[in-house]
């Protein structure tokens, strides 16, 4: 059996990772909550963001954390463009089509990354990558603590934006009542694209926070996409609070099942939660929708 | 034609009482709640075998909800439905179709990607497992509702009137004993209504009992043997069309205040 200290440390690490998972899931759930679509390209876009961080770091030596403002804007624009120019027009407003179009996009992105960067797994080493905090008997990686803090701050900012700003109010209006909102003069296509852009911006932040500690390869997206879906389904499709809590839960589950089942079987825990939630409680733990 | 029971005493019938054969459908004290909203409130009605029975009432009265309950799409919060004497409360729609209870939808649901014939064939397959038989039945049914010359057209190309006919044809192809028609005349112009009325009457003449939700009063008066009025979820009147339209309760609830006077002047007769 493991000593309590090891378990508690795994728990803490799970929470730290979970916070970043939550940030990834936040983008997904936001898009679902407003557009009612499942963005299958979410994972591939995260991979793209991570490679962007890596590339900028290698070419210009810019620290990942310093890239946050810049990459957020870029990915907002990428997301806006994707929804406005490709996903919206190509899917003719049908649910299954959106799923297929975003699947197609994810294949394109993933394989372009593969063609461009090769299949090697890379990581980005900063001089603070291995710093740790000592909290009592536990060692916590500094970059993971930064990551979790950054994720929580981003979530808080997003929440403030949605509840206070005019654009945020328009987004919530469209989420609740699309036709009513359009009758109020809200440009729904624009709001959709903004929402999609915000979802991608979350990914950019997540990529910057992840890279000092996490490896990257072109396939990394598919590892994240099911985790993110699980969080979103668990937290209730479209629920922001649910995504945050779901992210923390999944982080802990992953770290625990990794500890007890080993690295490769450890992933099973997440898939099983995913399947069980879908089969037994598709509204999620915190789903508000009837 | 006599009025049937509308007394509250119907609620006290013992549940195992056998239905007289003359009644094909019996709705007993059905209540349907959605959250805090009561869509149908203790409604009871009876459809006599071989009749055309109407169910009328203002918008939002709960007519379609009652239809969905009778056809198995919704399970009532309380109450009981009997079809040919057997309890069918909560029985799945496809089982009811097998037993001979067919329905149409107010918002028509054509299989838009298929041809008119293929649409009807789906219904005909219920009792005719071989394609050749099912197609023959479907073609006959199509002719009966006036779609005989459009068999190969895509269902999506039909006009509103054509889609209503298709809706009836699909249900008819399942070989129902009782057909629930949900506003098949809504959205049709007067001449289209005139065309379709004989079709419905002819269905009854071939032995199919019909329960219809209808707003077009002209059709109700000319077609129905008996009419029930649903208002705010409750049955407030029942009887022959003439009795019902002169019932003050109905005029209040259904046609609005002041309508009684207009009705007495006979204006609604050709509305």
């Amino acid at each position: 059996m493991y000593s309590p200290d090891i378990i508690i440390e795994a728990l803490l690490n799970g929470l730290l990772t979970g916070a970043i998972y939550a940030l990834v899931a936040l983008g997904l759930t936001l898009v679902y909550g407003v557009l009612h679509i499942i963005n299958f390209a979410h994972g591939a876009l995260l991979a793209a963001a991570m490679f962007a961080v890596l590339l900028i770091n290698q070419l210009f030596g810019v620290d990942p954390y310093v890239q946050i403002p810049f990459l957020t804007v870029i990915f907002f624009a990428v997301g806006y463009g994707l929804q406005r120019l490709i996903i919206g027009p190509a899917s003719h407003g049908r649910d299954e089509n959106i799923l297929l179009v975003t699947l197609g996009l994810s294949i394109v992105i993933e394989n372009l990354l593969l063609a461009g960067f090769g299949s090697d797994t890379r990581s980005l080493n900063t001089d603070y990558s291995f710093n740790v905090y000592e909290v009592g008997p536990y060692l916590l990686s500094q970059v993971r603590v930064f990551g979790a803090a950054g994720a929580l701050v981003t979530a808080a900012l997003l929440w403030l934006f949605l509840s206070r700003s005019d654009t945020g109010k328009a987004i919530r209006a469209v989420a609740r009542e699309k036709i009513g909102a359009s009758l109020q003069g809200i440009d729904v296509a624009h709001v959709y694209a903004v929402t999609f852009g915000l979802g991608c911006a979350c990914l950019a932040v997540a990529a910057c926070l992840l890279l000092p500690t996490f490896y990257v390869n072109p396939k990394i997206g598919s590892a994240f996409v099911l985790v993110a879906f699980t969080i979103v389904v668990l937290g209730g499709m479209g629920s922001i609070v649910g995504a945050m809590l779901g992210g923390l839960i999944i982080g802990v589950v992953e770290s625990m099942s990794g500890l007890f089942l080993g690295e490769s079987l450890g992933q099973i825990g997440i898939f099983v939660i995913f399947i069980l939630t879908l089969l037994l409680r598709p509204t999620g733990l915190f789903g508000a929708k009837a | 034609m006599s009025t049937t029971q509308m007394s509250p005493a119907t609620g006290t019938l013992p549940p195992d009482e056998m239905l007289p054969p003359a009644e094909i459908l019996k709705v007993e004290n059905v209540t349907m709640r959605f959250g805090g909203l009561t869509a149908v409130n203790d409604a009871s009605l009876t459809v006599k075998k071989g009749s055309i029975t109407g169910l009328i009432g203002p918008n939002g009265a709960g007519k379609t909800t009652l239809f969905s309950i009778a056809s198995g799409f919704l399970a009532p919060t309380r109450g009981r439905i009997a079809f040919e004497g057997g309890d069918i409360t909560g029985v799945a729609p496809h089982r009811l179709a097998e037993r001979g209870l067919g329905r149409t939808f107010q918002i028509v649901k054509p299989f838009a990607g298929l041809s008119v014939l293929e649409n009807i064939v789906v219904g005909a397959f219920l009792r005719h497992p071989r394609r050749a038989d099912a197609e023959a039945v479907a073609a006959r049914v199509a002719a009966r509702v006036g779609l005989g010359d459009r068999l190969d057209d895509p269902a999506a190309s039909l006009t509103v009137s054509g889609r209503k006919r298709l809706e009836v044809a699909k249900a008819l192809a399942t070989g129902p004993k009782l057909l629930l028609l949900d506003e098949v005349l809504a959205g049709l112009n007067p001449s289209e209504v005139r065309d379709i009325i004989p079709v419905i009457r002819e269905l009854r003449d071939t032995g199919i009992t019909i329960l219809m939700i209808e707003h077009v009063m002209q059709a109700v008066v000319s077609l129905c043997d008996e009419v029930f009025v649903l208002a705010q979820g409750a049955i407030i009147a029942g009887g022959t069309p003439q009795q019902v339209v002169s019932d003050p309760k109905v005029i209040e609830a259904y046609l609005g205040k002041g309508a009684a006077a207009r009705l007495n002047r006979g204006e609604t007769a050709d509305a």
């Binding site: 557009l35 679509i37 499942i38 190509a90 899917s91 003719h92 049908r94 649910d95 299954e96 799923l99 297929l100 179009v101 699947l103 197609g104 994810s106 294949i107 394109v108 992105i109 993933e110 394989n111 372009l112 593969l114 063609a115 090769g118 299949s119 036709i179 598919s222 099911l226 490769s264 079987l265 992933q267 099973i268 898939f271 995913f274 399947i275 879908l278 089969l279 | 799409f73 799945a92 729609p93 496809h94 179709a97 067919g102 939808f105 299989f111 838009a112 990607g113 298929l114 293929e118 789906v122 219904g123 397959f125 219920l126 497992p129 394609r131 895509p154 999506a156 249900a171 192809a173 399942t174």
Partner: protein
Amino acid sequence: MSALRPYLPVIGLGVLLALAPLFVTSNVALNFLVFTLIIALAAQGWNLLGGFGGQFSFGHAAFFGVGAYVSAIWQMSLGLDAWTGFVAGTLAGAVTGLTIGFLAFRAGLRGSYFALVTLAFAEVFRVLSNSSEATGGAAGLLLPLRIGAQNLQFADRSTFLAFVVALTILVLLLVQWIRGSRFGAQLVALRENEEAARALGVDVFAVKLKAIGLSGAITAAAGVLYLQYFLFIDSNIVFGTWISVEVLLAAIVGGLGTVLGPVVGALALHGLGELVKHLAGDLPGIDLAVYGAVLVVAVAFLPGGLVGLFRRKPAPRQVRKTAPEGGRV
């Protein structure tokens, strides 16, 4: 005669395919055809459920892999022969389909939710087979080379191609027959409108279950063929996302819910893939990137797929949904 008429296109394509083993001699071309037809067969399974039934699975790798692994274990661990292994693999696919279908359809999952849950099942299988001893773990399983018809291994590729062609034609005929049958009509009806189908006496749950069972069997049979041809499988190959994607891609590009679509789609896609690889040189993944783009373009501009191009003007697609709906009702 008129009863045979719907079968004419199938027979036409069948004759073309049947001629292939006689005229194709180069190993490269034989490889291409065998592999493409294996995908086409798997796609035919997907198409039955996704194209005719409208239930889009993102996890058909689950069936492909179950077929391959069951047949491999059947031969290697149990020492049984390849032909019964073929049957066992196919049946295992059916059982897997029925199980996943029972759980998913009972829970009322459809649309995106159904797609995601099938994907998750495939991933569970992949992880399990990657770490279980019975399936050879991450090393995979290498089927011993034992040439001989009784072992479903052939000395020359063209014989294997003939076998694959025969199976493809058989499945094409089966699907064409299903299409005209009561089951086929009910399957298409529930795709178009589930409520309306129920009102017409269609037992929606039973019909979906039947479809996913058959679909699983066909795709699993393709998985067995993969094993018998390449003699090596591992979890990332036969349970990998790529196979789930390839089958839906072939069906959609070829023509959703058409009998010939999956074969036409697989041939067209792989042909295109080879062309791109030829033009772009050795860039890894470039052919797949093109596949992804083709999927987007097909959804946007080719609702009837390639097969639809050769038809008389297709019926206008279903009335657009004004409000996108969630997966559950």
